[in-house]
């Protein structure tokens, strides 16, 4: 479909313009962040929640950068996303490409068109990472840790800024033995455009 390849091409062009960082440094920084969180909170479920919150902050800022850069470059956003499918394409082909340089695929749209999946073949955050084996002495079960949960937060935060309330979950993870990483995104509701209660007229 032409919109797909348009998004992919736009993503490629945006990625070319972004300043780059060393991939190993990036992965190691994220790794130390996660291990520090694990040391502090100990419970992997709590760590997942914290990663989601951190991702949320990042996403809220990423979406502004994305929209401004894409606008300036004058590419692909002349038409707004008409439906969730377009949004999914933009997030995967342009968003992930622009910030991480990776090619993400979308798929598995649900019947009611309110859910979709993003597939990541390689995950730059989990370079060199191996989840430790279960600790038989009853230490934290790190199998329940969602190492890349940051992505879920980023997607949630970014889409929240454009009035789409979504729930994101990692359903397949290469660190746990699956062949690829899959993030399931479900649209909860489309928020009404508004500046929030604080600014309502008295």
């Amino acid at each position: 479909m032409s919109s797909k390849s348009q998004a992919a091409q736009a993503g490629q062009a945006l990625w070319a313009k972004m300043p780059k960082a060393n991939a190993e440094l990036f992965a190691l920084t994220y790794g130390s962040l996660v291990t520090e969180l694990v040391r502090d909170y100990e419970d992997p479920i709590e760590v997942n929640a914290q990663l989601d919150r951190i991702g949320h902050s990042i996403g809220v800022r990423c979406v502004d950068e994305f929209l401004s850069k894409a606008d300036v470059a004058g590419m692909g956003l002349t038409t707004q996303c008409q439906n969730l499918r377009d949004t999914a394409e933009v997030v995967a082909k342009m968003g992930f490409k622009m910030f991480l340089g990776i090619q993400a695929e979308v798929g598995a749209f649900s019947q009611d068109q309110r859910c979709f999946s993003i597939y990541l073949q390689d995950n730059p955050l989990s370079t060199f990472v191996e989840l430790p084996e279960d600790d038989p002495s009853g230490g934290e079960d790190l199998r329940r840790l969602k190492y890349s949960n940051l992505y879920c937060g980023v997607i949630r935060g970014a889409l929240e800024q454009v009035n789409l309330k979504v729930d994101c979950n990692i359903v397949r993870d290469t660190l746990k033995g699956d062949e690829l990483n899959e993030i399931r995104v479900e649209l909860k509701e489309v928020l009404a455009d508004g500046a929030g209660d604080d600014y309502k007229e008295e």
Partner: protein, 139 residues
């Protein structure tokens, strides 16, 4: 012919990794007595490793000790972790290539944020890679 090869990684205070490779079958093996003897030989060579570390500025320390018909070769990583190999007279270049390959795997392992430096290595992937390298180079 089937002289077992013992590979040990020693950290600051304790051994971090041990693998006994039987050249004949290419797997773990060997009876208990000779295994214990081999460990003893390797650990007693540690003092000699310290000594010869000061004589050269390369990481590969070649053969540091000879006991009966066996030799102990050592490789020092940049962080002073010692890779020691107890073998029955393998060529120096072969041992050097083996050590370099294991060093590569060790560096990748230490990049894992969940692996704490200078702690025992429990990763199965690492063990499999080391055994494969041993089979490739030393058998």
């Amino acid at each position: 012919m089937s002289s077992p090869i013992l590979f040990v990684i020693v950290g600051k205070n304790e051994p971090l990794f041990e693998a006994e490779i039987d050249t004949h079958t290419g797997t773990t093996g060997g009876n208990d007595l000779s295994t214990r003897q081999n460990y003893f030989v390797l650990h007693s060579a540690l003092d000699l490793v310290e000594k010869s570390a000061w004589t050269t500025n390369s990481m590969y320390l070649r053969v540091v000790d000879k006991v009966n018909h066996q030799q102990v070769s050592t490789f020092l990583t940049a962080g002073n972790i010692k890779f020691m190999l107890l073998h029955g007279g393998k060529g120096e270049e072969v041992v050097r290539s083996f050590f370099n390959e294991v060093y590569g795997y060790y560096v990748k392992l230490s990049m894992n944020p969940f692996y704490k430096y200078d702690t025992p290595i429990t990763s199965l992937a690492f063990e499999n890679r080391v055994r494969a390298a041993a089979r490739a180079y030393l058998c």
